[in-house]
């Protein structure tokens, strides 16, 4: 893939004083407009990998290129122009006491003219559905709303890639769905490449491609259907498989011929009807 927007070649990162490398030789290409989910147990290296995409961490060996720019200390700002990041804890990402000021923070730091800031902040807040809360205090918002503000702040910078590091982990089911759907829409409609780190399998099944990391390496890679078909392997890597796949396995074991890679409730209902209902 020559036109990859993210290109990792044997990329590795070792924290100071750590015995092992947190990311241990990862090679990966991500195409523009792709929605890539990264799964893996705690400590598998997912967050470290994401932080290299944003130049918060500089690879200790190998190469990471973001939009054709090598991730290095010198290129950090240029890299962040291309790849924005949304973190896990909504409370740790809000810096201002008014929603629209928070959203404008990055633009102001970059010296964007005030009228341009106004335009971009309004657009970004509209995009995330928070325009009417522009003058609210973030402290009065729910966790999901705070994450949408954080996303607006990133969108206002017009990145080509956004890395979400477990951005739904601390949200309730409604907040989680809102934030995930927002990321999907930004991906589908704006063409922003999304790297989506998560522990929720029901989010991963809706990605274009899934990689599973363990001990700093990529252990499984493919479409959600391909990856989750390896039920035993996925479980052994500390993850879960979608409930319908487990059910499919149980039904097959009892002699009912449903496809092993049945992912969703709708698919399962269809398959069972085909079985002769």
């Amino acid at each position: 893939m020559s036109d990859a927007i993210l290109r990792l070649r044997d990329a590795a990162f070792q924290y100071d004083g750590a015995e092992d490398r947190a990311v241990d030789g990862v090679s990966l290409d991500v195409a523009p407009g792709e929605f890539l989910a990264i799964l893996g147990r705690n400590g598998s290296g997912k967050s470290t990998l994401a932080r290299m995409l944003n130049a918060l961490l500089i690879p200790t060996s190998g190469a990471v290129e973001v939009g054709g720019i090598a991730v290095s200390e010198e290129n950090a700002y240029a890299v962040r122009e291309i790849c924005g990041m949304v973190f896990q804890n909504p409370d740790n990402q809000i810096v201002a006491t008014v929603v629209e000021e928070d959203c404008a923070f990055g633009l102001e730091n970059r010296g964007v003219p005030p009228e341009e800031i106004r335009r971009r902040v309004d657009e970004a807040l509209t995009e995330v559905g928070m325009r009417e809360r522009a003058l609210a205090s973030p402290s009065m918002l729910s966790g999901g709303q705070k994450q949408r503000i954080a996303i607006a702040g990133v969108l206002a910078m017009r990145p080509k890639v956004i890395a979400f590091d477990e951005s739904t982990a601390m949200l309730d089911p409604v907040g989680r769905r809102d934030v995930f759907e927002l990321a999907r829409r930004i991906n589908r409609e704006e063409g922003v490449t999304v790297v989506w780190i998560t522990h929720f399998m029901e989010e991963a099944v809706r990605a274009d491609r899934v990689i599973v990391m363990d001990r700093g390496r990529i252990e499984l890679e493919g479409t959600p259907r391909e990856v989750f078909s390896n039920v035993q392997e996925v479980l052994a890597l500390g993850l879960d498989v979608p409930e319908m796949m487990k059910l499919a396995r149980d039904l097959r074991a009892a002699g009912l011929d449903v496809p092993m890679d049945t992912l969703t409730v709708e698919e399962m209902a269809e398959e069972l009807c085909k079985c002769g209902a």
């Binding site: 705690n42 400590g43 907040g175 993850l239 009892a254 009912l256």
Partner: protein, 288 residues
């Protein structure tokens, strides 16, 4: 069955008579019986956390009454320290509350405040560590060098070292990876099996369906649904309307019923749904 928690007509209004007035609890009544594992479900802002604070007398109940083992938490003569010895409360992300230099000292903090003798404190720390599955060898470790899941176990051990007869946990599995989540829930199941009454606040229908005897669903400060998981999960549409979900297999059961399959209304576990499907196809065998 003897009740250990009785909440009667509890209402709680935050910032009354101000523009921010918010009715967090609105005439809530519920009962928790001795030895039960009760799930408390609701979306953000439904009043779960306020309710839980009442059960440990962190909030005052007015109007309404809360009884813990027959003690009226609103009565003047009630010593709140007695109540808090009965009810252990584990907050969300309790690992943020660790502060001591070693795991042992952090867990011992509560018992030490009870002025117990050294030997008893050591015994309780050991027992609590064993119950949460922390290895002895970690006693002298700094809690801050542990993994997220282990830190959370230390925090829970600190609450268990007070020997509560009732344990309340607010989203104990939040933010953990799937294996950590399973481990944490199995741990709580073990604590419950050791004889402790458990109330668990959760967003996850799969988790409460799997572990709880009985559920209360809060919505806008009111109890919207209650009963055994099967009784609650048949209300799929209502739950979705409250910003909640039902377990995947309950959704499948509903989808199959809509297509004319004979799946019992209460089926929500994978084993039950699989058994119903296999019966329909004349395969009668065991699913698990």
């Amino acid at each position: 069955m003897r009740s250990v928690i009785e909440v009667r007509h509890l209402t709680h209004v935050y910032m009354p008579d101000s523009p921010f007035e918010a009715r967090a609890l609105d005439d809530v009544s519920l009962t928790v019986n001795e030895g039960e594992f009760v799930g408390l479900i609701g979306h953000t802002g439904s009043g779960k956390s306020t309710l839980v604070s009442h059960l440990n007398a962190l909030e005052k109940s007015e109007p309404g009454t809360v009884f813990v083992r027959g003690i009226d938490l609103g009565a003047k003569e009630t010593k709140l320290s007695d109540v808090r010895r009965e009810v252990g409360l584990v907050f969300q992300y309790p690992e943020y509350q660790l502060f001591e230099e070693t795991v042992e000292r952090d867990i011992a903090f509560g018992p030490a405040n009870l002025k117990l003798d050294e030997e008893e404190i050591r015994r309780r720390v050991r027992a609590a560590m064993e119950l949460v599955g922390l290895d002895e060898s970690l006693r002298e470790a700094s809690p801050f060098n542990l993994s997220g899941g282990q830190k959370r176990r230390v925090a829970i051990a600190g609450v268990l070292a007070m020997n509560p007869s009732i344990l309340i946990l607010d989203e104990p599995a939040a933010g953990l990876d799937p294996a950590g989540r399973r481990g944490m829930l199995e741990l709580i199941r073990g604590i419950h099996e050791s004889g402790v009454t458990v109330v668990m606040v959760s967003h996850s229908m799969d988790d409460v369906g799997k572990y709880c005897d009985r559920l209360y669903v809060l919505s806008h400060g009111k109890i919207a649904l209650s009963g055994a998981p099967a009784e609650v999960f048949v209300h799929g549409e209502e739950l979705r309307g409250m910003g909640l979900d039902v377990p995947e297999c309950a959704k499948l059961a509903a989808a199959l019923r809509a297509r004319g399959f004979d799946v019992p209304g209460g089926a929500y576990s994978r084993a039950d749904v699989a058994a119903a499907i296999l019966k329909r196809f004349g395969k009668g065998g065991d699913a698990e």
